[in-house]
């Protein structure tokens, strides 16, 4: 168990820059999620921490000591790849004991530890199978057991849920979280799925185009986005943005009411809008509206619970009401967050 710190990491592939000065700390025992769209550099950063990729500049510290010069095997980390990378010619038991063999651990001790790790992940009955005989969920557990077995200082997980079907993913997410809480090892988890990030992370680091956009708790990432990228990348549907009086105003679709004629309560802002379409999604309904702004027209979405009654229908003119405390302001040029004025 240890703290992981990256300092001013830069990485260029030829002329393209994959990482552009990223500094980040994963505290001891913390579950840190690296979130970003594909190509943002999150996997490259993980591979640099693992030692599979050499940074162009910057330093990596594990437990306070620089590991930049160390090969992957000397860093005492465990990594789970997106594909799980189970050794196809080895049985499950041999897969799990591989890191211990590499350590030169005697056989009895190895067997004992394999049983312990397999027991923890409830795969004791699979030890004599070959990886190809396992389901996706079982493969994931084997990969986790192999990562866990030699008690690494850090877990590095690269989109471990993306190969599972949607149904399995929710239960696997829960298991991953419980598992990490039980073993308490610092974990860095890479994903492009904001639902996973919100659900798993103690803190989330949002990356885009090789730069760190924001680091914070899921709550602060969602409610206090540092810029328009974070505001629109996190949340489904994303935060509504419209230009008013030279400023960008943002608010979450679920913080909106749509009424025929607003009574103009205190502490609320009212936008006149035109209803384009109402989508019924079972538990929620999405109301698509257009609102006049500085650029002409902005298309916005309101997410309303089905339990809420509405008195409007498509093609109506209506009022969009947002409580003022839900409004976020951004710089029109840079997209950075501005103080609420």
């Amino acid at each position: 168990m240890a703290e992981v710190e990256v300092r001013e990491i830069r990485k260029t592939f030829g002329v393209t820059s994959a990482l552009d000065g990223v500094s980040l700390v994963c505290k001891d025992g913390e579950y840190l999620v690296l979130l970003g769209p594909s190509g943002c550099g999150k996997t490259t950063l993980l591979r640099i921490i693992a030692g599979l990729e050499e940074p162009t500049g910057g330093d990596i510290l594990i437990g306070g000591k620089s590991v930049k010069a160390l090969p992957p095997r000397a860093r005492k980390i465990a990594m789970v790849f997106q594909s799980y990378a189970l050794y196809p010619h080895k049985k499950v038991g041999q897969n799990i004991s591989f890191p211990l063999e590499a350590l030169g651990m005697p056989r009895e001790e190895r067997d004992e530890r394999v049983r312990w790790a397999a027991g923890l992940l409830e795969i004791g009955h699979l030890l004599d199978r070959k990886p190809r005989q396992l389901s996706g969920g079982e493969r994931q557990r084997v990969a986790l057991a192999r990562a866990l077995v030699r008690e690494p200082r850090v877990f590095l997980l690269d989109e471990p849920l993306s190969n599972l079907d949607a149904k399995l993913r929710a239960s696997a997410r829960l298991e991953l979280k419980q598992f990490q809480q039980r073993v308490g090892v610092s974990t860095i988890y890479v994903t492009h799925d904001q639902v996973e990030a919100m659900g798993l992370g103690d803190r989330i680091a949002v990356l885009n185009r090789g730069r760190l956009q924001q680091v914070g708790t899921p709550d602060s990432i969602y409610n206090e986005p540092a810029n328009t990228f974070v505001a629109t990348f996190v949340g489904s549907p994303p935060m509504n943005l419209l230009q008013r009086d030279g400023k960008l105003v943002g608010f979450r679709p679920e913080n909106v009411k749509v009424v025929k004629k607003s009574t103009g309560r205190d502490g609320s802002t009212v936008f006149a809008c035109h209803l384009l379409r109402i989508e019924n999604l079972g538990s929620d309904r999405y109301v698509y509206v257009s609102v006049k702004d500085d650029r002409g027209e902005a298309k916005l979405i309101a997410k309303l619970a089905m339990s809420e009654q509405i008195d409007v229908s498509a093609n109506d003119d209506a009022d969009l009401v947002v409580e003022r405390r839900y409004l976020r302001f951004f710089d029109r040029e840079t997209g950075d967050r501005r103080t609420d004025a």
Partner: protein
């Protein structure tokens, strides 16, 4: 409304094109497509093979048209011949030694060709070059390279003062050197195919597996012997089988390089069969010698076909 539709329909189903109907039938099309291959195989492989078996049990010679069956007599004479015994030992030894060398070098070359460096294409080109040359041509070139007077090897060794100037090494004249030369040439000419097969094998191993092993704490040798080689084994087997077939049946190298000599030190089954059956005129004995290659090749073929049908894709 119905008029134009009806006109169009007659255009689509033009009943005058009867040939199409015939070739559309699988029962007709299948045999038609298979026929050229089957005729080729029957004429150029089947007929000679049957002929060899007939001759081997007869007293046929190149001198007369007729022959009579003599049962196993030809075989008995063949097996008792010390040159035949030498040839069968040589064939097996040359094949095995050459293929061991090939598989070691091909693995190394496979790594070199998959590595990323400048000038990769020229290395790949050079590795493949021997493969593109006909055996007879390249053997002739080697004959000159190993000539006792004109050998560049002798010149280099002389310049380096490894051998005294004026006493050239007779590469093909001394038993040990001649055997070594034949094996080296067999290895040299089967190496490119094996290297390409192993290169393909190495590329098919997902890079994450080695990266995972690296993170798991494995050093270079452990990754090589515990991860790469086991995953490479099936395709290595394919390369070895191809190499065995190519070396075991080859007569061009021995025929051009040493003519089986010195003495009969480099005689192999293929060359001995040729010398006995064609040049010596004893068709029956030549055929009997050739038949001794049959069980080995049959075994290799069965292994290959099994391999091909049970390839495991993970």
């Amino acid at each position: 409304m119905t008029e134009p539709l009806a006109t169009r329909r007659t255009v689509i189903f033009d009943e005058s094109v009867h040939v199409h109907h015939l070739l559309d039938r699988e029962r007709v099309l299948g045999p038609v497509l298979l026929a050229p291959l089957l005729i080729y195989l029957a004429a150029l492989v089947g007929v000679p093979l049957v002929t060899v078996f007939i001759y081997a049990f007869s007293d046929a010679t190149t001198g007369s048209e007729g022959f009579s069956f003599v049962g196993l007599e030809t075989f008995q004479r063949t097996v008792a011949d010390p040159v035949f015994q030498q040839a069968i030992r040589n064939t097996i030894a040359f094949t095995l030694i050459a293929q061991v060398i090939v598989i070691v070098l091909a693995t190394i070359l496979g790594y070199v060709m998959t590595a990323n460096f400048k000038g990769k294409w020229i290395v790949r080109f050079l590795v493949l070059l021997p493969w593109t040359t006909p055996v007879a041509l390249s053997s002739l070139a080697w004959l000159w390279m190993l000539d006792s007077l004109f050998s560049p090897f002798n010149w280099i060794l002389g310049e380096l003062h490894v051998v005294p100037v004026g006493t050239p090494v007779a590469w093909l004249g001394e038993t040990g050197l001649a055997v070594g030369s034949v094996i080296a040439l067999q290895a040299w000419r089967t190496l490119p195919l094996a290297a390409v097969i192993l290169m393909a094998g190495l590329t098919s191993i997902p890079p994450e597996l080695n990266e995972q092993a690296e993170v798991d704490g494995a050093g270079f040798w452990r990754r090589l012997f515990d991860i790469t080689f086991p995953l490479l084994a099936p395709i290595m087997m394919v390369a070895i089988l191809f190499g065995i077939v190519a070396t075991f049946t080859d007569m061009a190298v021995v025929f051009i390089l040493t003519r089986g000599g010195p003495g009969d030190a480099t005689q192999v089954l293929a060359s001995w069969s040729f010398y006995t059956g064609i040049q010596g005129g004893s068709l029956a004995q030549g055929a009997a010698i050739g038949i001794f290659m049959f069980p080995v090749l049959l075994g290799v073929c069965i292994l290959m076909l099994r391999r091909a049908s049970s390839v495991e894709v993970t």
